[in-house]
Symmetry: C2
Subunit: 273 residues, 2 copies
């Protein structure tokens, strides 16, 4: 069986932790894959713990006892958050993004894994300290952000759909009023999607009036689920009063001049404190 040197084990451990954040790996598991004594693994973890702290990318928690293990909890430093948000503002406000009707074309960004991964990093970092069972989103554009955030928090996603699908089994449907356009719309979620009494984080790409987020929150009532947080990538400055109260946005759309092709987007300053 293979034997690994210390620096190889450190490297492999960092890869394993990076690929599965918020997942508790047992010392036994590491002991087996590295063919090394638990005491050796324990020393390795101490080095990794210090490294993660020096890199300012999160922390390693160790769980003692016979079923002891270690888990990587990623956090984003204020410096990195500032850089990411400023990059996001730049790409989301590119001049040619305004399409007919005064909408902003953002589909390419929400389907770009590098952009989405940075967004997910920040959302996961903000909600790492809260107990969450599921991430909830509504199709379609928010799904990549939801799944990548879920990967970082190590929880599953439930996707609320606009229509019933035959493959979903029994579903719960509700009507909701879009916050800005006042249209009545339907959303449905498979009854199998969520266990009763779950704690959920709602994630969506965009919030104007907050109607969709309110609808998702109402849907959660039908599942006796508790909404422990709501995160949106972009909120519009107006209307100032949204249909829901507690939410966190990454970016604020302050103004858009369709004629001049100017989009003004700023980071949510609350995240940089």
């Amino acid at each position: 069986m293979k034997k690994y040197k210390r620096n190889q084990r450190i490297g492999a451990l960092m890869k394993i932790f990076a690929e599965k954040p918020n997942y508790v790996f047992s010392y036994n598991y590491f002991s087996e894959i590295f063919n090394a004594a638990k005491s050796t693994i324990s020393e390795d973890i101490t080095i990794v713990k210090e490294l993660v702290s020096e890199l300012e990318c999160g922390r390693i928690d160790t769980i003692s006892g016979s079923s002891g293990g270690a888990v990587f909890i990623p956090y984003v430093s204020i410096k990195e958050k500032t850089e990411i948000l400023s990059e996001l503002c730049e790409v989301f406000s590119q001049k040619n993004r305004i399409v007919a009707g005064g909408f902003i074309y953002t589909t390419d960004l929400f389907n770009n894994p590098n952009v989405v991964s940075n967004i997910a990093k920040i959302i996961a970092s903000e909600f790492n300290h809260i107990d969450i069972d599921y991430i909830i989103t509504a199709e379609t554009k928010g799904i990549p952000v939801a799944i990548m955030t879920a990967q970082k928090l190590n929880v599953p996603v439930a996707v609320i759909r606009r229509n019933n699908k035959v493959t979903e089994g029994a579903t719960v449907s509700i009507n909701y009023v879009s916050g800005s356009s006042k249209n009545i719309q339907t959303m449905s979620l498979s009854k199998r999607s969520l266990k009763q009494n779950s704690k959920v984080l709602i994630v969506d790409d965009f919030m104007k009036g907050g109607g969709t987020a309110k609808g998702m929150s109402d849907m959660m009532n039908e599942f006796n689920a508790e909404v422990v947080g709501t995160a949106v990538v972009i909120e519009t400055l107006a209307p100032e009063i949204k249909l829901i109260d507690n939410y966190m946005s990454l970016l604020v759309l302050k103004n858009m001049d369709e004629k001049e092709g100017i989009i003004e987007i700023e980071p949510n300053m609350k995240l940089l404190k």
Copy 2:
């Protein structure tokens, strides 16, 4: 400025490579973040290269010259592939997955980041050697697999939608015939989604007759894009002749007995050679 020890740099390098596969990092970049000479970084990369090869999780390619750099190209070993596929067969064939109408409920699995990440690992591993500009999928269930595969291949995704959306700008729409139900359906894709003459990999959750995959392929013709591969998570054994020829599946649904609640799924053996 911080200085890092060799085992710390090895650890940090493995984290950086694991989080951004198929991305070329310059030696200058590493030199700056570690505050170390390029010759030191070069030695580190040699160690990391050997480690990745020993772990059988891919390879590190180095690009020489003034703009030199290093890139991690992940591969899945036959052993790991066998394990992943057998786990997937197990979860996809759980007895309680059959819903009214003889459909299989898979939504929870396609929204579970651990399951999706394993699926994406295999697809990316199979297509790592091919030049790909975009991953194409059709909403909704395949989106998580598409974005996670895209993350591993470091390319963007384009999502074909069932309906036009006002936020998509000008779109191309086509009609297609569902392979199994023979219904005529519409799909549309924003003109901004793809550059002309791109090479694309089609990714979808399920294939029965192959109608959706054929539709996506026809849509690609409208964008002068070349389909260099098609990957589906599950294909059904029947009908044996699909509407498209070249595709790769991870799992094969051999049989389903609605009355007895039995689902027979096997790994695609071609992947294990």
